[in-house]
């Protein structure tokens, strides 16, 4: 896209009549020079955005990260092997045993289809790449594309300079990198591109009133819907934006064309995604868009009537009647729809976005995920750095030069900033807006400062009558003449700005390499002689499961590890990261928090063959199952009231040492985590059975297992797998 735009510029300049002689061939005009610099820096930014995301590949290897990406990888593998039709109709019996999961109907296929298409294309071009490489590099590739979109978006709302700065900022913004490093093969990787692209196309459509751009934005929206559940943000932000334009009296035919085309076509296209289905007309979360759609029709109608009537008095009364009528009809329809159950109410996830405390009280399964926690100030600082200060400055500039486009970016910035405050993971959605708005601040400031410096230098020349532009500048300069040390101040401020920007670049690189490039299934630590120690226990255990257990074995673990077990271990799991069935998860939570005989009954009823627990007591790995255990109790207790959280606590305190609650010391999770751990010396000068993750000596060192036996423990004890013994003979 960048190349095309550049070429367009080149076309216009090449059409200039003078045929260049050989000597002047390399001497470019200022406009051409500017174009060359712009294209070159965009190309560099494109490469930079890709390269900075490769830290994880260099530090570790070309592998899929985290939890959800393993599901995406597995489904992509299925898609490339069996074709789209099979994929669409895939019933997966390897997860949610014994329920199973209809994969085709319960996922956003955009990411997998994108990766599969890239894979097919490369194969067609006779590049013998492995699908894993494609999956690993999909996110960086789309991040690179996002920078180009950011450039055009910035150009659309401000000028090409702001676009260039925006592209540079977003290329290395840690908030975005956190979800788009190589290997982070998740929906967000392509969705942020789709989100920004849709917004850009829509703003372009609003600015031009062109049906073609509106159509393009509808397709952008379709891609977004196919890729990520975050499309709900678009379908609510755009109506809100339209509403704001209506209220501020900025209604225009351009807006009418853009919104109607985008909404109707986007809605129809989105219905093709099975997971979304008829939600656009049936779900409460999508009703705002429909309401605004009808409101626009009313507006258009009123406009027409106003034009036809030519009578202010009559129109006023007509307006009053029509508005009352329209609003009451709308409210009635909504009321009937909701009451009859045709329109579904808002989901818990949506509520928890609007009210940060909602999930904590009502949906423990959402609250238990760390990325759903409200954001701390430090993570804002970590992910945005100087952008956090530039953001308000950019808002100021936007308000100073208010247009349809700047109103959009202001609204996008403010709403996404709010959501970023509600949930950590939504910093990602705010990142493009923050980058764009900050880019406006930087671009406008630097432009002002450089023009100040230039006018000072050119002031004597301007008197001699150089040109109209410098005359204007000198006029401006003479207006600001009252400020002392203006020139020096400008230089100082410019230097300060560049210092800040370089700090930003350093910070981003550091954050990327230190914090966001860890695949989280391979853990690295610093060894005795400064060498790196790798804890590859996860894969050790999953590969053991894959090779040394029966092919139809069912593995019970907490849901976090479900996707990884199915993808890497190739074994059936009871629950996984697609937490669609709370009761099933609660059953597993109940089994983990019961005494062994009761747990055995539950496991028998679920046909469990192996139980997998994650244990960090030996290595000091703190995100293990013992630390997650209270969530198991809470989620289990939410469905089965026999599990009571206070039974596991002592005076409201969670302990694993001698002072722990008796139920805690004898529940299945405790036994499985600490089985035979009492014999181990973990740290010099500490008693045996010293838990390094929690820094205490465990309370129950003599653990006997009756219904399970240890089947495998990884080299650093991070994963422990137990085999469920067959039932005893009754006679």
């Amino acid at each position: 896209m960048g190349a095309k735009a550049a070429e367009n510029g080149a076309k216009s300049s090449s059409s200039a009549p003078s045929p260049p002689p050989l000597k002047a061939f390399f001497r470019l005009k200022t406009k051409q020079q500017e174009l060359l610099i712009r294209v070159a820096s965009l190309a560099l930014i494109y490469v930079l955005a890709f390269a900075v995301r490769l830290f994880s590949v260099l530090r570790y290897e070309s592998m899929i990260h985290e939890f959800d990406p393993y599901f995406n990888y597995r489904t992509t593998l299925f898609l490339t092997r069996n074709g789209f039709y099979e994929f669409w109709n895939w019933f997966d019996s390897e997860s949610w045993y014994p329920l199973g999961r209809i994969i085709g109907g319960t996922l956003y296929p955009g990411l997998m289809v994108t990766a599969a298409l890239i894979y097919r294309l490369l194969r067609f071009l006779t590049f013998a790449v492995h699908i894993r490489e494609v999956c690993v590099l999909t996110a960086p590739f789309f991040a690179s594309n996002t920078t180009i979109v950011a450039y055009f978006f910035g150009k659309e709302i401000w000028d090409s300079g702001a676009g260039l700065v925006a592209a540079a900022l977003i290329a290395i913004c840690p908030g975005y990198i956190s979800r788009s490093v190589a290997g982070s093969y998740d929906n967000e990787g392509v969705a942020i591109f789709a989100l920004l692209f849709t917004f850009y196309l829509f703003v372009k459509a609003v600015n031009t009133g062109s049906l073609a751009w509106a159509l393009a934005s509808a397709f952008g929206y379709f891609y977004m819907v196919s890729a990520w559940g975050g499309y709900v943000f678009i379908i609510n932000l755009i109506p809100l934006y339209v509403l704001v334009l209506l209220v501020t009296g900025r209604y225009s035919m351009r807006l009418y064309v853009a919104y109607n085309c985008m909404y109707i076509l986007g809605m129809l296209l989105a219905m093709q995604i099975r997971f979304v289905g008829f939600q656009h007309v049936q779900s409460g979360e999508h009703m705002a868009a429909m309401g605004v759609f009808f409101l626009l029709q009313v507006f258009y109608f009123l406009d027409w009537v106003k034009y036809m009537l030519n009578d202010k008095q009559l129109f006023q009364s007509f307006l009053r009647i029509t508005l009352t009528f329209a609003i009451s009809v709308g409210a009635l329809a909504l009321g009937i729809g909701t009451a009859s159950g045709y329109i579904s109410p808002w989901t818990g996830r949506f509520y928890s976005l609007l009210d940060p405390t909602y999930a904590k009280d009502h949906i423990p399964i959402i609250a238990s995920v760390s990325e759903h926690q409200p954001t701390a100030w430090s993570s804002f600082m970590f992910d945005f750095h100087i952008l956090l200060f530039l953001f308000p400055a950019g808002l100021y500039f936007c308000f100073k030069r208010l247009s349809d486009a700047t109103i959009f970016i202001v609204m996008y910035g403010l709403t996404s900033m709010y959501f970023a405050g509600v949930m950590v993971r939504l910093i990602l959605v705010a990142a493009p807006a923050v980058c764009l708005i900050s880019a406006i601040a930087i671009s406008a400031t630097v432009k002002n400062l450089t023009s100040l410096i230039r006018t000072k230098g050119k002031a004597p020349l301007a008197v001699s009558g150089k040109g109209s532009s410098s005359l204007k500048a000198s006029a401006k300069a003479s207006a600001d003449q009252s400020l002392p040390f203006q020139h020096n101040c400008a230089i100082a401020l410019l230097v300060g700005a560049f210092y800040l920007l370089s700090r930003y670049a350093i910070h981003c690189t550091w954050v990327t390499s230190e914090a966001y490039s860890s695949p989280s299934i391979v853990l690295a630590a610093r060894g005795a002689h400064g060498g790196r120690v790798i804890f590859d226990d996860y894969r050790e255990a999953y590969y053991w499961l894959r090779q040394n257990t029966p092919a139809d074995a069912k593995v019970m673990s907490w849901w976090d590890y479900g996707y990884q077990i199915t993808a890497m271990g190739n074994r059936t799991v009871i629950v996984d990261n697609n937490t669609w069935n709370n009761t099933h998860i609660a059953t597993v939570g109940r089994a983990m928090s019961s005494y062994e005989p009761e747990a055995y009954e539950i496991m028998q009823s679920l046909d469990v063959d192996y139980v997998l627990v994650v244990f960090g007591g030996l290595t000091g790995y703190s995100s293990d199952d013992i630390n997650k255990f209270l969530w198991m109790v809470r989620i289990g207790g939410g469905v089965f009231p026999v599990i009571k959280e206070p039974d596991y606590l002592v005076n409201g305190e969670y302990r694993v040492d001698k002072g722990a609650a008796p139920k805690m010391l004898n529940c299945l999770m405790y036994k499985l985590a600490y089985y035979r751990f009492g014999e181990m010396t973990t740290e010099y000068g500490k008693p045996t059975g010293y838990d390094r993750a929690r820094g205490v000596e465990i309370g129950n060192k003599d653990i006997k297992l009756e219904y399970l036996e240890e089947a495998f423990t990884t080299s650093n004890w991070i994963i422990r797998i137990y085999k469920v013994k067959p039932p005893k003979n009754r006679w």
Binding site: I534, D536, W544, Q547, G620, R692, E709, T713, W717
Partner: protein, 495 residues
């Protein structure tokens, strides 16, 4: 301590075999008048592979000259026979040299009880009244049978070895002795066929005198063998030749511990081979020490394997379906490269692991041009892992695009066929010569050659393709810029 009563299973088998022994005696075939003056059989059972050294001193007491002599194997032996090599000794004492002799299987319908005969062609036919000494080495795979078949983690692994106290031969043997060498002196039981003696780790059967042809007296030795029974069930080696200077090897292993199956619980407190280091704890953000208990495992599980790679190896990787395996060490010197690999988990009996080892080699070490202008690859057959049996070996030699008429020269019989492989920028595909062999042992690590015709002009095909596609892209773009495809008239004022 080891002389305990032999187990019940052994008791059941012995009479059965004795029966067949009497049956065997009825067949006395001697088409040629040859007898073995003295025979010695040394069976080396110190590794999971059974190696047998057979020394026969043969005499022709008949009139016609004898060009070849026969060596007999029982049906089970011939099934497990991986390789048979024979040589003869020439010269005396200090100038002793071993001259290899050619060996070929012969169909032997008249041999009793399905005994399989192999003929060894002598260098010069044995004249009447002459004697010669033939030495044979043969390797048997899967002939150590774990018993008990399932052991727990800390138990030692015991195995059976079945053979005959007398040497199976189509000739009368005047004097013979069989020695069986076990890894340690821990022998649980052994069949006695007097005279039988045992000292240290060696059991001796014999000497026996004047045994008839095809005499067989089954014996069972039950002893401790804690060697890792690493068996590669399937090994696919891909050798890809690039005339740009690289030889790329990819070995896909399916490894199994073929010893006694692991039973019952697994425990790290027993299995952990102690190690001990300081780590910088990323979670607790302070340095701390990991301390594992030092308790040496007794069992036959194994943690590491050693692969011998050619010298000047580069870009070595070791991975499996789910990513790199971050536990391997590579030691390179000018003579050889040693790659010590550790499977993701220690392998206990019956456990499996699959993995891939890949590396690059400089082409000039392995690719040569023969006198008739053909090129040939000279590479080692067999498995780089030391002391490992490969049940099913497939070697795929992927020749560069445009090569023709591949032929292989392998010193032992293999199945071969051709197929096509497609890699980066391949249009017509790469001719691939596939060689397959079952039951491969380290003794098969022997160079083989693949000859083929190749025109160096094909080396330029792929770079030219890339260059021209980039060129075409630019041409297309220039054309696109200069051609106006819009339907309406171009407007002067552009937004």
């Amino acid at each position: 301590m080891g002389r305990r009563t032999r187990s019940a299973a052994a008791m059941a088998i012995v009479p059965l075999l004795l029966l067949s022994f009497f049956h065997l005696l009825q067949f006395v075939s001697s088409t040629q008048e040859i007898r073995v003056l003295s025979a010695e059989k040394r069976i080396d059972l110190t590794s999971p592979i059974a190696r047998v050294f057979l020394t026969l001193k043969v005499e022709n007491y008949g009139a016609p000259e004898v060009p070849e002599i026969l060596i007999a194997f029982s049906p089970t032996e011939s099934e497990h026979l991986a390789i048979l090599k024979a040589s003869t000794v020439e010269g005396k004492r200090k100038k002793k040299t071993y001259v290899p002799l050619s060996v070929s299987p012969v169909s032997s319908p008249d041999a009793p009880n399905g005994a399989q005969l192999y003929s060894v062609t002598l260098r010069s036919p044995l004249q009447s009244g002459e004697t010669t000494t033939v030495e044979a080495l043969y390797v048997l795979t899967h002939s150590l049978e774990p018993f008990p078949t399932e052991i727990s983690q800390s138990e030692p692994q015991l195995v059976y070895y079945r053979d005959s106290a007398t040497i199976l031969s189509p000739y009368t043997i005047v004097e013979q002795t069989v020695y069986i060498k076990t890894p340690s002196s821990k022998v649980e039981s052994y069949t006695k066929v007097e005279p039988t003696a045992r000292s240290g780790s060696e059991t001796r059967y014999g000497p026996y005198h004047d045994r008839l042809p095809y005499s067989f007296s089954p014996v069972i030795v039950h002893f401790e063998n804690n060697n890792p029974f690493a068996v590669v069930e399937e090994l696919v080696r891909e050798i890809e030749i690039s005339h740009w200077g690289n030889l790329q090897i990819r070995d896909h292993y399916r490894l199994k511990h073929a010893g006694a199956r692991h039973k019952g619980v697994f425990s790290r407190t027993i299995a952990a081979l102690g190690y001990f280091y300081w780590v910088y704890d990323t979670y607790a953000k302070h340095p701390c020490r990991l301390d594992y208990q030092f308790r040496q495992s007794l069992s036959a599980s194994f943690k590491t394997l050693l692969a011998m790679l050619p010298p000047r190896v580069h870009s070595v990787y070791y991975r499996d379906d789910i990513g790199n395996i971050s536990s391997s060490h590579l030691r390179i010197n000018s003579q050889k490269s040693e790659l010590e690999i550790e499977p993701r988990y220690p392998l206990f009996g019956g456990w499996k692991a699959t993995f891939t080892i890949g590396y690059g080699l400089p082409l000039q070490d392995f690719l040569f041009e023969s006198s008739d202008g053909r090129r040939y690859l000279n590479f080692s057959f067999g498995c780089p892992l030391i002391e490992t049996v490969v049940d099913d070996l497939t070697v795929k030699v992927i020749l560069p695009e445009g090569s023709r008429n591949p032929t292989a020269a392998v010193p032992f019989p293999v199945n071969q066929h051709l197929e096509m492989t497609y890699s980066y920028l391949d249009v017509v595909g790469r001719t691939t010569l596939v060689l397959q062999k079952r039951n491969v042992v380290p003794e098969h690590n022997y160079p083989f050659q693949v000859y083929y015709d190749f025109n160096p002009i094909f080396m330029l095909a792929e770079p030219l393709m890339l260059v021209s596609s980039v060129f075409l892209f630019f041409v297309a773009y220039i054309a696109y810029v200069h051609i106006d495809l819009s339907i309406r008239r171009p407007l002067k004022t552009n937004s």
